[in-house]
Symmetry: C2
Subunit: 345 residues, 2 copies
């Protein structure tokens, strides 16, 4: 089959690889109906050291179950499923607590580990029972783009909002206008936020943020952004900050705009070693939380809102390409010409 391989920063190719097959009795194979390129894929696209045989890329997909191992109990061939970016057994203590990304038998797709990537024609899915989420609709349903976001960005935006303790009537700021930030806007409104300030400056993204319910836009950066957010939020800052970038500067801004007693939910893959502003964060009793989103645990809660049309996170996709065009898809996202790319093998 064909799959996407990254050999080093900037070098992404679609190549022939051996067809995936069941290895463990808990595995399933899925044929990929739709996959994505993720903002987090841009980090290795920017800085990956050479990898001898290439890294299999992609961690978001909707697929059709092609085969299941002997111990798989809940899935059947032909089912349409969402594949979250992490696999998990669904039964360990951490899965039980809703933290599937810390599953003791779990791992991540498309990061060079034992699991393959989803930007491919098919994927072997470990721990299939705990990982795959069957959908109540057929593969040609018009909701597919939104359902596909359950594999990562919508669940990740929701995790940012939950980690930042968004609640009814709260003032919220979202740092980052990528797909996760935009889904963060949806999540914040969905959880009842009264004010949602988006920090970003790309006109199409800002327009989408507004369509998703952002009430204010702050285009400034750094200290000026902090001042501006404080001003538009009434002087004291916001209760909740969704940090959807992953840089030290973004986190510094997050701490600067959080109101005393507020919380920062960080979901941007951290490209920093320490959390800055430890003293202001302390004296303001801020909470810093977040991490890789346990999106599998959120699917059940978010699904009805998509199926019943209350949220439309699929609008983050502004480019749909074929698998062979994946290198161009990376380039489009890297150059910020596309918010998020859908790949239809």
């Amino acid at each position: 089959m064909r799959a996407t391989l990254m050999y080093r920063a900037g070098d992404v190719r679609v190549a022939q690889v051996p067809d995936p097959r069941l290895i463990e009795p808990t595995d399933a194979l899925i044929i990929v109906n739709a996959a994505c390129i993720c903002g987090s894929d841009l980090w290795p696209y920017k800085e990956l050291e050479p990898v001898a045989n290439g890294r299999r890329m992609g961690h978001e997909a909707i697929g059709t179950v092609e085969a299941v191992g002997q111990e798989v109990r809940t899935l059947k061939t032909g089912q349409v499923v969402v594949m979250p970016f992490a696999y998990s057994d669904g039964t360990c203590d951490f899965c039980h607590d809703g933290l599937n990304t810390s599953c003791v038998r779990g791992g991540f797709f498309g990061v060079g580990g034992v699991a393959d990537g989803a930007q491919a024609e098919a994927v072997r899915v470990p721990q299939a029972d705990g990982t795959l989420f069957p959908l109540p609709v057929s593969a040609d349903n018009a909701l597919m783009p939104s359902l596909l976001t359950l594999s990562d960005v919508m669940g990740t935006g929701h995790h940012a909002a939950v980690s930042a303790r968004v609640d009814r009537g709260k003032k919220v700021a979202v740092i980052g206008d990528g797909a996760v930030g935009l889904c963060g806007v949806i999540a914040a409104r969905r959880l009842g936020a009264e004010q949602v300030i988006i920090l970003g400056r790309h006109p199409e993204r800002i327009a989408l943020a507004k369509a998703f319910g952002a009430t204010d836009v702050v285009t400034e950066r750094g200290e000026e952004a902090v001042e501006r957010v404080r001003k538009v939020s009434g002087g004291f800052g916001v209760h909740s900050v969704l940090e959807c970038v992953g840089t030290e500067q973004a986190l510094l801004t997050a701490v600067g705009i959080a109101r005393a007693g507020g919380a920062v939910g960080r979901v941007g893959v951290p490209h920093y070693e320490t959390i800055p502003a430890a003293q202001p964060a302390f004296y303001n009793n801020l909470t810093v939380s977040g991490g890789p989103a346990p999106v599998r645990a959120y699917m059940e809660e978010l699904l009805p809102d998509i199926v019943e049309g209350r949220i439309q996170p699929g609008r983050v996709f502004d480019l749909v390409i074929k698998l062979d065009d994946v290198p161009n898809g990376y380039r489009a996202m890297y150059e910020r010409k596309s918010i998020k790319v859908m790949v239809k093998p």
Copy 2:
């Protein structure tokens, strides 16, 4: 009157100062019945730069109301009150949310600000209505030592536990065997923790921690402490870490022993600029929270447990001195000969 002044690191003196008087109509004057030396006073004792006229020290007291300003409505002369380490109006948005330490008209005692120190014969208390907490017992009651801890250490230990999300059945670690850490043990048990691991090595303090309900003792430090806590907590670490020291090493240990999805409540005055281990904390979805404890907001909840004898935080006091002996009290705590010193003017 006599009051405690610190002129530089190591130089603490009791000296004559002008008698305090009402300045604002919202002030009260209290005659100090009992004050304390705090672990946090040891930081300036170690590193204070020279202060021309000295810094007035002390921020914990039980006193008797001597006089009240014209706008004070809830307090009467002769009432016995607890003075928390921060003053607050009790009416602003932050006080309303229970975060009195961020009161817009608030501040701290004994840190060189506009408010005086409590290691003195009397104190002027700003925002008296919102600050002072009337006690239902007389000044000679045997519970006074425990009630005195409501002014800081018991409320601070409780804040660490709340910030670390201690709950029924959870595994908890307390870093630091000072008075706050010991009160953290009380707080963790009070909130239902099943296992409470104290990290410390001073025999009398450890004995008291056990008396307060600690189930395990870890005397190791650094990486060895991390391994040991993971082992005694069943392999994955603890749900909640109470960080009651304030050093970077303590925080690093806290992140290392927290179970994925767990929380660190930091209440040790931070002597670090950044929070270390930002990436492990992220990948484990840890929450880092805490700050100056809004002890005033906790008094109502903690009082009945003291009055009805369920908790005895007053046992942290192992030395009672007269005001003139305060310099010796600082030395005893600095040399770790005393856990916590009570000052009876």
